[in-house]
Amino acid sequence: MSTEMKYSYSLEELKAYKKRSIASEVWRNYKKSPSAMIGLITIGIIIVVAIIAQLVYNYEVDIVQQDIMNRLQGPSAEHLFGTDQYGRDVLIRILYGAKYSLAVGIISVAISCFFGSTLGLIAGYYGGVTENIILRVCEVFVGIPSVLLGIAIMSAFGQSLVVLMFAIGLVYVPMFARTARAAVLPVRCEEYIEAARVSGMNDFQIIFSHIMPNSMAPIIVQVTMGVANGILTASSLSFLGLGVPVPAPEWGAMLSSGREFIRDYGYLTFFPGLAIMITVLAFNLMGDGLRDALDPKLKQ
């Protein structure tokens, strides 16, 4: 340690210090929780597997092409998870299908987070009539059970991966709007907001450079939990035959088509469901870990 203390810092240095310390503090807290680390590592593995599966397997040949001679063979050394009613390897389809769940989960949350948080920030910052209108509109969408709203949207705009992402994204917009608004409320009256206004910043600048960073924590937690929820909702829509169209190896759809053979070939329903559960579990664990890491007060 140097004996000479530094008393004056440039603004840039202070900014860099602040940024580094928040992120590294959160990371230090996060690392302490074994379950949170398991979640993070599992998500990492799933992402890597999803990418490798895209590179190694050919959609037409390995995923969709039927091989009736080998249909419904139980798990074996050659086909670890067995083959389905069209003779396709279940393990390969599950590995390849990881991309659908990840894509739907992550992109739908990105959609709901973007629109929801923006609305919530606006509602919380301006208050009054604006806030009232936004909250009332949210109330309407919260009133409709989410799976039913999802089904209605899917049937209105047709079945495809993109529509599924938007359907689920829209369903969870109100949740983000409420979280963001609740997070802004305590920040809104802080003195530094007043100071920013006096120094001539406009509303847009204040919201993005002061309000948002200071109300991020609950939104970040909501994002990870939202991915978990999104994956579950997407898989139930696919299970009901309203998600990603066949023959794509989406997990919910695989489960649904395996249902016919449940009496004798239970593994056809077991493995896709297990894949869904592990993925959702990983995001939930990460969300829990992030919540504790972002707000150490809660943990005690």
């Binding site: 109330e139 059970p145 799976v147 089904i151 579950l232 299970f239 579990l281």
Partner: protein, 309 residues
Amino acid sequence: MFRYIFQRFLMMIPVILAVSFVVYYLMDLAPGDIVSMMAPQDATEAEIEMMREEMGLSGTLPERYLRYMFNLLKGDLGESLSMKRPVIEIFFERFPATLKLAFGSILVALLISVPLGVAAATHHRSWLDGTSMVTAMLGLSMPSFWLGLLLIIVFSLKLGILPSGGSSGFASIILPAITLGAGQAGNLTRITRSSMLEVIRQDYLRTARAKGVSEKAVIYKHALKNALIPIITIFGSTLGNALGGAVAIETVFSWPGVGRLTVTAINTRDMTLATGCIIMFTIFLTFTLLLVDIAYAYVDPRIKAQYSK
């Protein structure tokens, strides 16, 4: 208090109208039209037009919606296009099954989550705590329809002790209720645990112990009573989930509830039935949330005091 309840009732009207607007327009966007689906193949253009007129589907979309809305305000949800019977009648035929399943699942959820959550909190940071939390997390992360199918494999197909579907007698509700209840139990266990942990540190518990109340009575009488308050709050959303989220489970167990009815209505483009069912769902959901708020005030005198101010 009554003024507050009255206000909440009035607030329900615009919300329900807006829901009807959203759902009606969404249903109209869906490709495929029930009139041409139902018309005989050799029907002429004029005949189809006449059918449309008879079914009350003529005119532009705003015209049709306005007609629907005015009927709705009079409490009339119209007639199902495919079944030719009042929507409200069909809904209430199926609703008891959904309600039974919802309450069954909540009972299961409470039976699992309260003891588990209390045990986790009283044995904070022990293996018991850890196991309960892992169990709760698994319950939260499991796709419910998957759990349902696994239960069918084990209890219906392998052991043959419980029916795998239908709704005949008590035995048939067991598996669906467990399936739906397990997911909710995950959430409830976590909430019970954290609210117990909060209560356990309060001074009045120390007082109770000091005056010689047995440990069991301290936990189950003094602590749990206070810890249950947050559980009541999420009862509303739990019931909402049970009502609306049961769609996949109703399908798995061929349970004759409203969820499946709604999905069928959407798939067959029966707009009035689908819109009507979703509106009824919304009404029940808002109503439950209101009841929960009232119950909340009665259970907790601190909140009641706020209303009377």
